[in-house]
């Protein structure tokens, strides 16, 4: 039996009949609340109505015009707490319990429409009339792609600089392929390329004052969207221990040609993943699929406090992952330079902290060791230590996140704009898309006024 070179394919999306049936359930609300629920103003109320009235090309135009990453958002967005949370079809009125129903599957309709356009060759976006100015975009993740596409639609020359071999940023190197596959992402990138956006991959922008040098090299504006790629660790600096990985290392390795290597490393082993967010869910899901003997999720609070989406949590448990809740990792246990376990202390929940979640408190004397062959840390990403070096005059906060005017994405340096995780800290793809749009509009204003 041949071993697969990748995870299973993405879950199949809606077909036309399913999409129409789902759109048929839509109440076509006045002042559609779903549309208000989309951080990127993708306007589901409008594109679902267009589908309902057999204006499929128009529906795709609405999506793609508002959100160049419509397909990726369709599969990656936590729709249950965005557009779908606002859906009137939930019938959540207390007085109307008999009406209890489920929201329209907006994400699935959105994905269907974009994929349908790909398969049917429907083109909905056009390059704008060429303008003389060029704009440099640093980083080809969601924020960079969104900004680049918006500017290209306006006719600006856009060059995207990407440090890694291929564009996509977190969509390619930070998400498991069974949620957003290579082919799927490449189709969406083709939509960006079709607007004339130029990609320069293997082209890191990280040398001293590199960002400002771009301005000197003939780019009229620069958009910084490098993302956050330094995974936080239990220790201030993650020690070099064999079998201790960051979520960034692990997820990127699955996408950059080292899938077989990862499989060999994980299969048959006991894997402990630290964290409770969506990235941790991707890590445990991937580890389980790579035939780990046992996968533990170690989380210091309880189930209800996990930031991961409810469906992700349920899916992980269905996959046989053991949830070790109310356990705080305190140290690594090693054996001859290799990880052999994780030292944990039991916690209990105390008062709510600043985030509104109850704070975990260590239970004295409850330390114990979870034996593990591999430990993956998925406890959030942060700005790299050296980040300001390539944009030293750009003002950053104490977490080294760039400070911008939220309405324009303007940084403290004229001509330099920023968005995405490097501004917000870890956030959603759809929020990064919106940052790109906001900055693109501001860049256009900056370059035309």
């Amino acid at each position: 039996m041949s071993t697969p070179a990748d995870f299973e394919p993405m879950e199949k999306g809606f077909d036309l009949a399913q999409a129409i049936a789902e759109a048929d359930r839509c109440l076509l609300c006045h002042d559609a609340p779903c549309s208000a629920g989309c951080p990127a103003e993708t306007d589901p109320g409008r594109f679902i109505r267009k589908l309902r009235f057999k204006n499929i090309t128009g529906a795709v135009r609405t999506i793609k015009h508002n959100n160049i990453l419509g397909a990726a958002c369709g599969v990656l967005c936590p729709t249950a707490r965005l557009c779908e949370e606002k859906c009137s079809a939930i019938f959540k009125s207390q007085e109307c319990p008999e009406g209890a129903d489920r929201p329209i599957a907006i994400g699935k309709i959105q994905r269907f429409l974009v994929e349908y356009a790909w398969h049917q060759g429907i083109q909905v976006l056009e390059k704008g009339a060429p303008r003389p100015q060029k704009v440099a975009v640093v980083g080809s993740g969601p924020a960079g792609l969104s900004c680049a596409a918006e500017l290209a639609k306006e006719g600006f020359g856009v060059t995207v600089f990407e440090a890694r071999p291929e564009p996509g940023g977190v969509l390619r190197y930070g998400v498991v392929s069974y949620r957003c596959s290579q082919d799927f992402l490449n189709r969406e990138l083709d939509d960006v390329r079709a607007l004339g956006v130029e990609f320069k991959c293997n082209h890191p922008v990280n040398g001293q004052r590199d960002a400002e040098k771009l301005l000197a090299e003939g780019y009229s504006a620069v958009f910084l969207a490098p993302g956050l790629w330094q995974a936080a660790s239990l220790k201030k600096q993650r020690p070099a221990i064999k079998g201790l990985w960051s979520s960034v290392d692990f997820l990127a390795a699955l996408r950059d040609g080292r899938f077989a290597e990862m499989r060999d490393a994980v299969a048959g082993r006991t894997v402990a993943v630290i964290g409770g967010g969506s990235v941790a869910m991707d890590c445990i899901g991937a580890a389980a699929r790579l035939d780990a003997a046992d996968v533990y999720l170690v989380y210091r609070r309880s189930y209800a406090q996990m930031p991961a989406e409810p469906d992700e949590r349920i899916e992980a448990q269905e996959a046989g992952v053991h949830f070790l809740l109310l356990n705080q990792p305190v140290d690594y246990v090693t054996d001859g330079g290799r990880i052999s376990g994780l030292k944990l202390v039991r916690t209990r929940l105390g008062e709510a902290d600043a985030s509104g979640r109850r704070r975990p408190e260590a239970v004295e004397g409850s330390e114990w060791v979870l034996p593990a062959d591999l430990v993956i840390e998925a406890i959030g990403n942060q700005a790299p230590d050296d980040s300001p070096a390539w944009y030293p005059r750009v003002k950053v906060n104490d977490r080294r996140l760039i400070e911008v005017d939220p309405d324009t994405g303007r940084t403290s340096v004229e001509g330099i704009f920023a968005g995405g995780d490097i501004v917000r800290g870890p956030a959603l793809v759809v929020q990064a898309v919106q940052d790109g749009k906001v900055a693109a509009r501001a860049i256009k204003d900056y370059l035309t006024q």
Partner: protein, 436 residues
């Protein structure tokens, strides 16, 4: 069987075990099919229209198309199917078979000829081979040879002549099937009665076009590059069928038993046809969509309804709605009403607001913050459009207002324009009905 209620009914002196029949169509094409329908619960069949083998019958291909409504399939079906393409002998053998094996079920032979001798020939062979009754197909909307099909249905003297010829030669009851492609069906029905018809069945399919190809411009079904206006059936035509049955049932001069056809899928559809005067009902498109099994729900549904209402015989229901059916000029216009909203149960979709704003009285203002409609009942037209679109059952209901209550008139946009108006009030006296 979930209930054991007697649904039998007399129709032209023949007892049917229930009022549910297959109509003459692809669903009654052979004894094998009809036998299965009888097993499923249908009480009788109008066997697919026999032909005399004089002319070859070849069905066009493809022979049908349909109209979907959103994700709802087959709101209507359009067909260019012809009468039976089977040899007459085979159909007669099949009728003999059904008579032999299903003595409690009724076989109505549908026939169609092109001239008197042919009608008579078909009528006699059908009777001689056991048909309990005949249905004269005066209404097939796409048999376009002059003197046949719906053209006959529109040429009243032919209709009378052919009915009379058949009646002279057979002793079994004869039913004439009417085309709806006409304004007033009572007129041809009366000609059929003059010819001796014992009953009327209606409606046959409504001439229509279900879809047009947007790339090839060929109306569907696309029969190798050609389309045609042809017969449309299914749920979409039910209001049309009810109209014709009710109109004939109201016609005292006609006074014949009626067999209702057109868009029947459920016991409620069937009952509605009965309530406007049908003694039996016939189904094709419902079976084309769901199969013979739907009769189980018709039998059970009608039976339970009768038990609930204390009705002991289907015949008691026939025409029960007719006393309540009036011309619109008989309405009491002094009585007006408005909608009322149980806003506590509202889910905030705002569809009521949209339709009231754009198609009614602008009686609703929209509380955007709370996502709730606010009704000004003095502006409400009681059109009930808001109720139709509201997703919550009975959130919006009708409320009768006291006699004499009047709603506000729709204000003009700019009263100052009155000085510019060119207008004299109409003052001539005249009749209150159109006279021809």
């Amino acid at each position: 069987m979930a209930n054991n209620i007697d649904l039998s009914i007399d129709f032209c002196g023949i007892t049917f075990i229930n009022p549910f029949l297959l109509s003459s169509s692809p669903v009654s094409n052979s004894a094998e099919m009809v036998a299965r329908a009888f097993e499923a619960g249908w009480s009788g069949v109008v066997f697919k229209t026999l032909n005399s083998d004089r002319l070859p019958i070849i069905h066009p291909s493809p022979r049908m198309h349909c109209v979907h409504y959103g994700s709802k399939k087959e709101m209507a079906v359009q067909n260019v199917e012809q009468i039976s393409d089977r040899p007459l002998k085979d159909n007669l053998i099949d009728i003999l078979y059904l008579k032999k094996h299903y003595p409690d079920h009724r076989i109505i032979a549908s026939i169609m000829g092109f001239f008197e001798d042919e009608w008579v020939y078909l009528a006699k062979v059908a009777e001689d081979n056991g048909a309990d009754m005949l249905e004269l197909n005066f209404s097939c909307p796409h048999m376009c040879i002059e003197g046949s099909g719906h053209k006959v249905g529109q040429a009243f003297h032919l209709l009378e002549r052919f009915t009379e010829a058949v009646k002279k030669n057979v002793s079994i009851p004869v039913m004439a099937k009417m085309t709806p492609n006409i304004t007033d069906m009572t007129e041809p029905a009366l000609y059929a009665k003059k010819g001796g018809a014992d009953a009327i069945s209606a409606i046959n399919t409504v001439r229509g076009i279900s879809e047009i190809g947007l790339d090839d411009f060929v109306p569907r079904p696309n029969v190798f590059g050609k389309g045609a206006i042809s017969g449309t059936s299914g749920p979409a035509v039910k209001p049309i069928g009810l109209n014709f049955i009710a109109s004939m049932a109201k016609c005292l001069e006609l006074g014949l038993p009626l067999s209702g056809i057109g868009g029947i899928e459920t016991w409620i559809d069937a009952l509605e046809y009965i309530l406007v005067g049908s003694s039996t009902i016939q189904v094709t498109t419902g079976i084309m969509h769901y199969g013979y099994g739907i009769v189980e729900d018709m039998i059970e549904g009608l039976g339970d309804y009768m038990a609930r209402k204390g009705v002991t015989s289907v015949s008691q229901l026939v025409g029960k709605a007719l006393p309540h059916l009036h011309e619109t000029d008989h309405f009491d216009l002094e009585r007006q009403g408005v909608t009322q909203y149980d806003v506590d149960r509202c889910i905030g979709c705002g569809q009521c607001y949209i339709v009231c704003r754009d198609a009614a009285g602008q009686a609703i203002t929209w509380d955007g913050e709370n996502r709730r409609p606010v009704l000004d009942e003095n502006k409400c037209l009681s059109c009930m459009l808001c109720q139709f679109v509201c997703p919550v059952t009975d959130l919006i209901t009708y409320k009768a207002m006291p006699r004499g209550w009047r709603r506000n008139e729709t204000p003009v946009m700019d009263p100052s324009l009155e000085k510019e108006i060119q207008y004299e009030p109409f003052t001539k006296e005249g009749p209150n009905e159109c006279t021809v």
